[in-house]
């Protein structure tokens, strides 16, 4: 039933109930005003429904405040730098009658602070200033400053200025445009180089002349104070920021490194590298995926060549799988029914039990995880190429295994042989020389640290085998990952 159709709808009978005396304005006024204060200050209990909305608003407001503060801080840095430039200029300007007028303009902020009125030039002077700028650059040495001033005049034409000279104007209530014009006029009328330079630095901090570059001078606390005042007193118009020269980062900061340290590790695949004559055990030994890790140092030479040396550990693993049929292999069956006896008269059955020994087919399976652990000193010459944050290294050299460990089980002359030691009767792995070739690709996360990946190939030059007529020169291919640290 819609309300419009509700026939029972009606108003209360006319006439308002008599007001109790406690509802008089005199008694209620204080309470109402107090509640108004509470409502305005937000002390009233919050409705749970609005809480989330208000919390979101507070969060947004906080983010906004942080952004504003961040922007303000950035702008402040700009103002400080220009303030230093502005304040240092009068000291550099030569004294003399020609300098007085511009100097006066530059010193206006301080005079305004003391309550003195500065002369306010008329806006008509602006046109004269622009016209005279071209002729004021009489001396060759003054060309740069005059050019800067011209640029400033052109850029500032028709735009409200927010620079330092505006601040006193706003405090004294003078029109801002007039003061801007006065600044330009003073510049144009000064024929002296020092004057031009001084005023141009004061009025055009955005485009500093090469001679007036002062960014390397340290900021003093006393220098900052006037500029802080300026910034606070500045007009509400958004300041027009100068084109601050940004230092172009080096394309390849790692190029100047003295050297680089690589910490690498990864997986290795390898093979035994037998010659034409293979030992009988070769049929039972299969290489498996192994691992290696190492620390190497690449010392930078001329023309991005490097000298590499390090320490590396390689564990070459293999799997020995051998089986043999066993003849005359007997098994014993215990408590086996040997015979069943049946009593013909009674029909009763009886089982005769005993142990039985039988010949059975059997196979012996031998599986073993064999390892050859090599501790090597790689030495190599490399070449590095840089591209932005990437660098590529190619290394060519060798590696000597200074220490080795051999551990495993294999077949030797038809018999199983367990070995565990530096050198076995089958192989000698210590003091062997390997040819080494590697390629690495590094992504520099920072100037110092980078992520590296690469491949390394080793081929043993020395013969590992101690058996006659058997040549064993293993080779390995490693995929490695790690870190690079530039020194």
């Amino acid at each position: 039933m819609d309300s419009n159709k509700d026939k029972s709808k009606m108003h209360m009978p006319d006439g308002q109930p008599p007001l109790p005396p406690e509802l008089d304005w005199e008694r209620m006024e204080a309470g109402i005003l107090k509640k108004m204060d509470e409502l305005e200050s937000g002390k009233t209990p919050r409705r749970p429904g609005n809480f989330k909305r208000k919390a979101a608003a507070v969060v947004l407001l906080a983010i906004l405040v942080l952004l504003v503060r961040y922007c303000t801080r950035t702008n402040g840095g700009f103002v400080f730098e220009n303030a230093v430039a502005t304040q240092k200029q009068p000291a550099e300007a030569p004294a003399g009658p020609a300098v007085q007028q511009p100097s006066k303009v530059v010193q206006e902020p301080s005079s305004m602070e003391t309550g003195e009125k500065a002369p306010i030039p008329t806006s008509e002077n602006t046109g004269q200033a622009t016209a005279k700028n071209g002729s004021s650059s009489g001396s060759p040495s003054s060309k740069t400053a005059a050019k800067t001033t011209q640029t400033s005049s052109l850029k500032n034409a028709g735009k409200p200025s927010t620079r330092r000279m505006d601040s006193p104007t706003s405090t004294t209530g003078q029109p801002k445009q007039a003061l801007n014009n006065s600044t330009e006029t003073s510049i144009s009328k000064s024929p002296n180089l020092g004057t031009d330079k001084t005023v141009s630095a004061a009025t055009t901090p955005a485009i500093p002349a090469p001679e007036a570059h002062v960014e390397s001078q340290p900021l003093m606390a006393a220098d900052l104070l006037p500029s802080i005042t300026f910034f606070v007193e500045g007009e509400k118009t958004a300041p027009r920021f100068p084109e601050i020269p940004i230092a172009v980062p080096e394309k390849s900061p790692a190029r100047k490194d003295k050297g680089r340290v690589f910490l690498l590790g990864g997986a290795t695949v390898w093979d035994m590298g037998y010659g034409s004559n293979k030992p009988g055990r070769d049929d039972f030994e299969n290489t498996t995926v192994s691992f290696h890790s190492g620390l190497s140092y690449a010392h930078t030479l001329k023309n991005n060549f490097t000298l590499n040396i390090g320490l590396q550990m390689q564990e070459l693993a293999s799997r020995f799988e051998w089986s043999q049929d066993l003849n005359n292999y007997k098994i014993t069956l215990l408590d086996t029914v040997l015979q069943v006896r049946v009593n013909t008269l009674t029909g009763e059955t009886q089982a005769v039990r005993g142990d039985v020994e039988l010949d059975a087919p059997a196979r012996r399976m031998v599986r073993h995880h064999n390892t050859v652990r090599l501790y090597q000193i790689p030495f190599a010459v490399g070449r590095t190429w840089f591209s932005e944050k990437w660098q590529a290294d190619v290394v060519l050299g060798g590696a000597v295994s200074v220490f080795s460990e051999n551990k495993g089980r294999t077949l030797y002359k038809g018999e199983l042989l367990d070995y565990d030691g530096i050198n076995t009767s089958l192989v000698s792995t210590q003091g062997k020389l390997h040819a080494l070739m590697a390629g690495r690709l590094t992504y520099n996360l920072t100037k110092k640290i980078g992520l590296t990946t690469g491949v390394q190939f080793q081929k043993s030059i020395s013969n590992w085998s101690r058996e006659q007529n058997i040549r064993m020169r293993p080779n390995s291919l490693s995929l490695e990952f790690g870190l690079k640290y530039s020194l």
Binding site: M1, D2, K7, M10, L23, W25, M28, I32, K35, R47
Partner: protein
């Protein structure tokens, strides 16, 4: 009800205008408040809250959208319901009772009752019924508006109104209000 000039002065936070507006509106406000807030001791506090909010939010009043009286009435009712929720947050739970829920199109000839009689019945009516009954019958809120104000479904608003009418019908009969019964109520 209130002159535009006073409203403008209230917007400017003139204390004298506060007093003028208060004295012009207190009777109307009180008549609504005493219907929605049953506890008399809560009336001053509720009225202070209402006028404080009215003075602060007077700038939202748009003359082109309606009279000041209706703007104020909505504010008062909203505030009364808010006050009611704060004081008795669980009172909106409607007790289960056997009531015939078929909504009747019967006319409720309440205008034949005196103010005191109506107020007497409203005071006796269960809180949950009373709020919806007053909103719908006296303050001309639609079921949709009632559902939004009371934070209930439209269907619940319809049901509670039906129950309120049934309750009122039952009590009028029990009290032997022959005048209403004779009119077919």
């Amino acid at each position: 009800m209130v002159d535009s000039a006073i409203i403008e002065l209230v917007k400017k936070r003139e204390t004298g205008a506060f007093k003028s507006m208060y004295q012009s509106c207190i009777g109307y406000v009180y008549s609504i408040v005493r219907r929605y807030v049953s506890n008399e001791s809560d009336h001053p506090d509720a009225i202070q809250e209402i006028f404080a909010r009215a003075f602060l939010s007077i700038h939202t009043f748009d003359k082109s959208k309606g009279e000041f009286k209706f703007w104020l009435r909505r504010l008062v009712i909203n505030q009364c319901l808010q006050h009611y929720r704060q004081k008795k947050p669980s009172a909106l739970v409607v007790p289960l009772e056997v009531v015939k829920e078929t909504e009747s199109d019967d006319v409720l000839p309440l205008h034949e009752l005196s103010r005191e009689e109506i107020e007497g019945y409203l005071e006796m009516m269960p809180e949950a019924y009373r709020q919806i009954f007053m909103l719908h019958v006296f303050d001309e809120y639609s079921h949709k508006e009632v559902s939004e104000l009371m934070d209930i479904s439209i269907e619940s608003s319809r049901t509670q109104l039906s129950r309120a009418k049934s309750w009122l019908r039952k009590n009028l009969f029990d009290n032997g209000n022959n005048k209403l019964l004779a009119n077919g109520f």
